[in-house]
Every structure is written in structure tokens, then in C-alpha cells.
Symmetry: C2
Subunit: 324 residues, 2 copies
Amino acid sequence: VTRSERSPVARIAVDLLGGDAAPAVVVDGALRACEADPALVLILVGPRPVAEAVVSALPPGDRHRIVTRVVDQVVSMADAPSRGMRTDTTVRSAVAAVVEGTADGMVSAGASGAAVTAAVHGFGRLPKIRRPALAATLPAQSGPVVLLDLGANTEAHAGVLVQHSALGAAYAQIVHGIAEPRVALLSNGTEAGKGDRPRRSAAATLDARRVLPHGARFVGNVEGYDVPLGGRADVVVTDGFTGNVLLKGVEGAYALAAGRAAVAAPGVPRAAALLGVGGLVVICHGNADGTDLASGIGLAAHLHRIGAVSRLAAAAPDRIEVPG
Amino acid sequence: VTRSERSPVARIAVDLLGGDAAPAVVVDGALRACEADPALVLILVGPRPVAEAVVSALPPGDRHRIVTRVVDQVVSMADAPSRGMRTDTTVRSAVAAVVEGTADGMVSAGASGAAVTAAVHGFGRLPKIRRPALAATLPAQSGPVVLLDLGANTEAHAGVLVQHSALGAAYAQIVHGIAEPRVALLSNGTEAGKGDRPRRSAAATLDARRVLPHGARFVGNVEGYDVPLGGRADVVVTDGFTGNVLLKGVEGAYALAAGRAAVAAPGVPRAAALLGVGGLVVICHGNADGTDLASGIGLAAHLHRIGAVSRLAAAAPDRIEVPG
């Protein structure tokens, strides 16, 4: 919990070099975010000329809201995630800004693997949490649906699915105010016994043991259509490979239904919160545009203002046991 | 290759008791299929009164096109797939009708696990094929996209992904007339090295060895949105768990975009062909309606008329080696 947690000011570190169309889209996103939120302070992490482009585009009275943290190297999508551990990369420096207390949270549209690695090393994992999870919220007709993991881990593991069920339930309570979230596992059928081995094992644990935060309950399996349509679960848990494929498939379907060949589609979140680490991280889609970056920065500011990280740390881990 | 393969007549066995809303939707689907295709003969597999409902609803001049194969037991969604091996079930009897030569192919909207088990036992697998795959075709703007597996196997395995790549490529050539299909693995990013271990291993094999039918080529990874949007691959290969989740997610997104809470959506196929077994099997969605059943019967008739099963057997397996 930082000094400013109850303050309306939110100081968000932004990775200027993360994303397919960086730095242009990040500059655009930073400007949009500043315009939308007068209490926002941005720590721009990257090359000085890029940061100065943001400063010079702001009205003079707003320029004090920009802090520059000069870093010139980037982790590209083609690099191994371990490159995120290099202290000279923008994503690692953005994490360091939070660790040092000069930022309240960070946002990157760079390679998610590098961001996750940097976050785990910089912030550490929450107690008992084996792997962090990327969580996004889809606005279904019946209310928000929290979907996780979206790619922090690609291998399915029963114990991790159980932990992510608890983290997702706590996130739904804290961020969306759903007092009694219904938690489901994503599977290839709703009948008990559907799914591969990790899914069946996780379901058995969630059925048998109290591993979810108080108020949350496990409702069994849901299927792919329950994520966009909602109604059957408030939190849908899967491995990062399947979650990533599903979210992008839903996104493509919305785009096609709207008659566009572009992938950005209303109804699909373009920013995800990293749950299970001891700091505030929001990761945007690699092909994010300025609007997406601004919404990611806005999400980070909101999560900071409600104290999401410390409340998640307080709510979830005590109840999570690690099976398997 | 059956006697009638070059004939326009197609004799399709239909599981009267398969599907969430059976037998009513199957009766409806059978009637629609007969009306749409004058050269269709249906072998209705199930209780005699249900079959008689179809016969009595047909014009007298068409009633000779219905053959009844009386079976009174069903495999429910809640049963283990091995129940599909019981000779007294409708799905098993429908397979037997094809094995005996009284039908050219079969259609069921029952539990896919039971249908797959019955088909493997009744028809056998094609040479060198370890596991069959369920394949469906999505009508993307740029042309058809064949997606497999949709749930015949829920565990990802590199060798199976490679075999399914070859089967999917042959299916695109034979059924959709795509001479040089682009084959891709579904992953959580397009960069080389993305995906879990089975995906990375399968990509290495597809890159290094000639395992696809002549004309087909491996184009690397695609992401979730490439399935509904098309354009990057003609054949998209994944494990049955992920494929099932993705197809249903796309379906839900289309339904939501169309302002409906129903899951049936235009643009998403509701019938899939079982590839890799020595007989013709089409499996419809468990919540199929009469229109879906009719389209599944129509797909089976079409696959029979183009000799799909024998051509798949001739095209794919000779080139498939089994890594891992």
C-alpha cells in the first residue's frame, strides 16, 4: 500500500517502446489518458525524444504531470521472455519505478512474457501463488465476465487453475463489486467429467474444498459461448493458451459481425490486469492503438485508486491451498 | 468405396435419439433434408414410433426413401464414451449400418465421444492415424477456413497435431477444392516459439519434414481472430479442447452481435466431419435444431458423393509419419 493509495492522484509508469506500433500509439495513448483524467501523472519510460513528444503536445499547464524515465532498449516480441529481466529494458524499468515508489502502477503493450517475467522478479508473487494470471473483463449483456488466464502461462495445471479461480473471484469482488461471484471452469462441455485431466482435477478440488474467497462459489463447467454471452458465470477460468485463443476468436467474430476486417472490436477488452504479483501491472494487446493504451492506463489508475493489489493480496491467498 | 459412390443417391443413417432435443429436432431435420435433396435416402436409427412420425409426415410418393432400423437405447451426454461401444445404442447401430453397406454415411447429434468411439471401433482408423479429428468449415470473408480438432481429443499432442494438419489439408483440397491450402497451428501469438510444448514441437516437425499432402504448405502460427476473419490460413489446427472452446466462443460472439441470446448463429457451422476413420461420420452440435440436423445430413450426402472418405484415405496417410 503506497502513500497515495487513498489519494485521487495516480502515478502510472508507461512503457513507451512496448507494442507493435510503438512508440506512436503509446504517445497517442498517453495524451488521451492525460486528457481524460486530470489527476493522472505519467512516468514515461523510454527514449527522451519520445517522452518529449508527449510533453510538447500537452497544454503548458499540464506538462508537470509528465515525468521522464530515460531507457533506450526494448524487448521485442521475437525475444525470449527472459530478456525482460534485463534492467536496461523499458518494461523492467517501468516495474522498477513501481518498486522504488515513484509510480503506483505500470502499463505496457509489449511482449506479455517479458512483462510477466519482469513483474515476478520485481514485485514477487503473492504468498502461495505459483503463477500469475492475466485477467480481462468482457461486458456481457448480463454483466461483466472476468476471463483469466489470457496468456501469462500456456500450460494447463490443476493447482494453477484452482489458484486462478480464487484470484479471479477476488478480482470480481474488488473491482466489479460482485459480492457472490459465480466461478466456472471453461471446458468443452458442461457435463461433469468433461475436459482434459487438469480441468477435471481442478473441478474436483473446487467442488470439495473451500478455496474461493468468502461469498464466491464454484458452479462447474461453462463453454466457449458463455464468455461473450454471459449469464452462467461471473468468473471464467482457463489456461493462458486457451484463454488467449478464445479472447482473440471472440474479437475476430465481433469485428467480422461489424463488417470490419480490423481486429479491434467493441466489447472485447484490450487491456488485462496481472493478478498474483505484489504490484500493479496492466498489459495491453500488442496491436493496441492509442485508445486501447489510454484505456489500459485508465484501468491501471482505477485499480490503484481502489487499492486493488493490496486488497487482492489480503483477500485471496490466505484461502488458497496449492493442490497437485 | 461403396457401389453407389458415383451415384447421386446418398443413403445416410441418422441417429434419431442423439441431441439435447431429440427426437423432435431429428425428425424435423430428417424431413427438411428429404425435402431439400430428392436423391437422399435416410436410414432412421431409433425407436419405431419416431421413425414412423417421419414417414407419415412425408408425401406418400417419398415414403420409400425412408428405411427404419429399430433401436431403443441411447447414449446420453452424461454417459462415459465407452457406452458408445454397446451394440444396442443408436449411434453404434448407425455405424453398423455403414459397415454392413446399407448406408453410405451416418449423422448423429448425440455425445461426440460416443460417436467417435463407435466410429473407431466400427470403421477402424486410417493407416498411421493415431486419433481421429472433428473438422468444421467456417465461412470467412476471404474463403472457407477448416478448423480441427473440435473435440474428438481433448489432450494436445505434437504427433497428433501433425497428423491432423495433414488430414485438414487433404480435406481442404478434396472438399473445398483448395489446391494449395495454407496450414497453420492455432497459438497464442504468431511469432515462432509461441505456444506450449506440443505446439512448438509440432511446428518444428511441420517446418522440417514433408508431412502434408502435395500442394499444401505450413505457414506457421495463427491466432484466435484468424479463424473467424480468415485470410491467413485455409486450415487451422489445434487440440480438441481449444478448438471446441474457440468455435463456441465465436458462435457466442456472433449471437451477441446479432442481438440474440441464442447460441445458434449464422457463420458458425453446426456440423463437423470426423476425419481419420474408415467411414463417413458427421457429428452435429448437441443443441442442434432441425435446420442444423438437415445441414449435417446434407454435408454427409455431399461428402459421400465426392468420395471424401476414400480420397482422404488415399491422399493423406501415405505422407504422414508419426513423430513423438
